[in-house]
Amino acid sequence: MSATTTSLAGTPLAWKLPYRGRVGMACLIIAESAIFTIFVVAYLYYVGKSLSGPTPREVLETPIFYTICLLSSSLTIHFAGKFLERGKRGAFLSLWLLTIVLGGLFMYGTGQEWHRLIYEHGLTISTNLFGTTYYSLVGLHAFHVTVGLIMLSIVLLFGLAGRVGPDQSARVDVLSFYWHFVDAVWVVVFTVVYVLGR
């Protein structure tokens, strides 16, 4: 059906190209970074421009503990991946579970903060510019954490069913690449919202 093409001398024997999953995830991360950049720009542009209260200085408390949770989950997922590569299923599963727990704790922290802001300070997304930009930026990040948690849980379920082995290591790496990105975004959001924005 199709004519074969040239097979001439001079072509390299070893032909290795990057793993498509990793390339795809890298592209997704670039695209997501652009989305976050726009939200961060909007946040910074509107700092101090709210016409009414409450202001960030009055109501925000720095979530140190939950930040430590999220950032350390990057370490646990990294080592989980290493253990999977070496075929140590038990260590992989427990560190993977720990990652989910740490991510879950972070989400709990966000939920608590929002609850406090809404019920104690009356700050909602429509209260003032600060509310609009704050809930959008932090909410966009929380949405990404949630998506990550869902995907991590799916891997955990497959892992418990015994379907995740060293062969899937490259795919699991792609997911942990995403999780590192979510953590890195939090560093930016944290700096913008809790350090610069006050």
Partner: protein, 557 residues
Amino acid sequence: MSSDVMAIQSADAAVRSWTEVLHEWVTTVDHKRLGVLYILYALFFLVIGGIEATIIRIQLVRPHNDFVSPQVFNRMFTMHGTTMIFFVAMPILFGFANYLVPLMIGARDMAFPRLNAFSFWLTAFGGMLLYFSFLGGSGLYGAGNAPDVGWWAYAPLASRAFSPGHSSDYWTIALLASGFGSIGTAINIIATILSMRCPGMKLSRMPLLAWLNLVMSGMVLLAITPLSAAQLMLLVDRYLGGHFFDTQAGGSATLWMHFFWIFGHPEVYVLIIPCFAFASEIIPVFSRKPIFGYPVMVGATVCIAFVSMSVWAHHMFTVGMNSYANSFFTITTMAVGVPTGIKIFNWLGTMWGGKIQFRTPMLFCIGFLFQFLIAGLTGIMLASSPFDWQLSGSYFVVAHFHYVIVGGILFALFGAFYYWYPKITGRMLNESLGKLHFWLFLIGFHLTFDLMHIPGLLGMPRRIYTYEPGRGWETLNLIVTIGAFVQGIATLVFVANLVISYFKGAKAGNDPWDAWTLEWSTSSPPPAYNFASIPTVASRRPLWDLKHPEDPDMRYE
């Protein structure tokens, strides 16, 4: 997958009912079928967008015309712009990229076939959603109402107070959906090019079409996403009572402009770069010479991509930015002309001294070259901020960007249709009808868009639904409208050619143009698996090497 399709091909075609065929097309993950779906879908919307343009032009044919009401006129230019950019130009270019990139790099499919299908259907449903607004725009309580806030939906015009009902929401969600589809396709194209090339296909040997689509996809990742982010903010404003673009609560209408044009300007390059890619494949083949300055072409494209990310505010000179911003955006905008000029010289250098064959694809590419040059020159004029202060928002600007989009993008696209139609369908497009199409369209195009500059210089603003007599605009507008009809007739000739040639066209064979890239090494149309055995390449022109073993290209690389 491939064994499946092989079985179907060997089975008796007459046995399959139309529902089975439909099912195959709807559930397909084959990059060629998805490419064809993208193209057909875009052609459908091209007709709709063309009808909207015709309505606009009929309304403006004479002063005080009342062919449509001012409200309908607003809907028409909004829908025309939105449709042509998001549901014609983007999908048609993605369609060609989908079809051609894997074939040109010797791959059997895209990197993520299912993501590919998902992206297509997202885009498709986005288009349907946009047009559903004619029925559902006013909700259950009013008559139909399509978006009427212009294709850039400036704040506060798009806020709840000034755009009641759901028309702007349909616009927003349609663009969000198709935007996510575009991001998915861009990811797919990049992953395909970086991870699926056949052995020997180093980046420095890749066809320029693949290179330019790689750059275009990178730009999509960085340019479409700001629009998606801004659309999310607009939704927050409209549905959750947010204040992003609400000036009464301290928000900024200018910020929307910035966000929109951070998308809007690179978008033009997202559309034109694949057209550069078509020209870079077609011009060498019909000049019988390899492309002149391959590395420079790649470098210039990357350079355009970089610079074009920092020119957006030239759409906003009249907003009242400070003089530093005005100077910066004037300089960057003019700077974009440099790599673009390099590319034009390279195409001319390719043609120089070649044995040029004036077949229809080449004619369209030559038209593209000259018209794109003129469009670029008016672009340089508008880049100068004092000049722009005079002409921003006038028909001069409308003429300028239609010169880019019709004279540049559409001409290159027509060239691509004539060039790759034989590969896609196995039949040649009729050459006489093709030449008729070219000349008719060329005449119509110049009647419309050359003359459209003049009412702009005379002060005719864009987006007005009618005008007073006695300002010297009447004759010009009449001729512009006549030109639009000539282009419409030419497009009908093209569509007729597509249909007639599909059934009656001469058989194409594998390689009708005596070309050099891998897609011509397989049958026309290619089998589902593209290549029976994965090819190996040793130069930029693998088929030249095959046809000329005594003097292969690889000797000179």
